[in-house]
């Protein structure tokens, strides 16, 4: 990284790095679409396949809904990230690349929240196993 002034730098991205960034944008989009699909499945599972208990099922349903919301936010951000990365590589504009990295950062934050939801959901499930008993009707 070469410093031009106090605030400006130049970075050089070779062909491989730009291709990697393009591929990252493409796979981020696929990843976020799959996150959406999985959260829809989580909603279906919480509604139909989890044993009947009002509190338990409601908690899982709320967690699945939150997962869905976070995955939709991640999907929007991944679309923007992909577009900005492609634009930045085509035009060679550093400002666009900066915006793309900002979108990537936000995407990661939403992925973190999505994972947190998963953890809460599973921890609740695990914790509830210690205090309940199952039986078949």
């Amino acid at each position: 990284m070469e410093e031009i002034t106090n605030q400006k730098y130049t970075i050089e991205l070779d062909d491989k790095a730009t291709n990697n960034l393009k591929k990252a944008g493409r796979w981020a989009l696929i990843f976020s679409v799959m996150m959406c699909v999985l959260s829809v499945f989580a909603i279906v599972i919480s509604l139909f396949t989890i044993p009947h208990t009002v509190g338990f099922r409601t908690s899982l349903f709320v967690a699945a809904l939150l997962m869905c919301a976070f995955s939709i936010a991640a999907l929007v951000l991944s679309v923007r990230f992909k577009r900005l990365v492609n634009n930045a590589i085509r035009t060679g504009d550093g400002e666009t690349l900066t915006n793309a990295i900002d979108k990537l950062h936000r995407f990661i934050v939403f992925y973190f929240l999505y994972t947190l939801c998963n953890i809460i959901c599973l921890a609740w499930y695990m914790g509830s196993l210690f205090t309940m008993e199952f039986y078949v009707e």
């Binding site: 062909d15 960034l21 396949t49 934050v109 009707e137």
Partner: protein, 178 residues
């Protein structure tokens, strides 16, 4: 008397031998971007967020593995994990499938978490001005998305099986002790 003709006189000249274009001879030049402090700050933030997400993913892997091992491995009774007595009579297929899904997904999530940590380290180095780390981080972020994308595709496929087989076995009831 000479007759006038309308034929155009053309002269045939030899084409010069084609020289290979200069652009094919030169190696591709790296693309230059002029960036400000905001880029460096954003990169540092992305690295920190990725580190947090990686830690969260490790916790998730541990939880999934624990539940998956308890459910998927029928030789290990779930009651061995806890002190109080527990009587589990869930639909065996649903129980086993849930276990297998959680085990598989937890194992598959490990490489994704590794690349998350790699990106976090590379992003930290990039924010300190290491240009080689920038190229490395581009590779890591691509691999992270690729691996995670494939893992989540597998998870979706397995969840689909669970939904298809589990909807009919939703006649299990949970009663709380308290």
């Amino acid at each position: 008397m000479e007759e006038e003709t309308n034929f155009e006189v053309t002269t045939i000249t030899e084409m010069p031998p084609q020289q290979p274009s200069e652009q094919f001879c030169q190696p591709p030049q790296p693309q230059k971007f002029t960036i400000g402090q905001a880029f460096v700050n954003n990169y540092a933030k992305a690295g920190k967020a990725m580190l947090r997400a990686a830690i969260a993913q490790c916790v998730l892997i541990a939880l999934m593995y624990l539940i998956g091992y308890a459910f998927g491995n029928s030789s290990v009774p779930l009651s061995s994990l806890m002190d109080n007595e527990l009587d589990i009579e869930m639909e065996p297929l649903t129980l086993a499938l849930t276990g297998i899904i959680m085990l598989w997904t937890s194992i598959l999530l490990v490489p994704s978490a590794v690349f998350m940590f790699c990106f976090a380290v590379a992003a930290k180095k990039t924010s300190k001005g290491n240009s080689k780390a920038l190229l490395r981080s581009a590779r890591h972020i691509k691999t992270f998305f690729l691996v995670s994308g494939i893992v989540i595709m597998v998870a979706v496929f397995l969840a689909m099986i669970l939904v298809v087989t589990g909807i009919n076995s939703a006649d299990t009831t949970i009663v709380f002790n308290y």
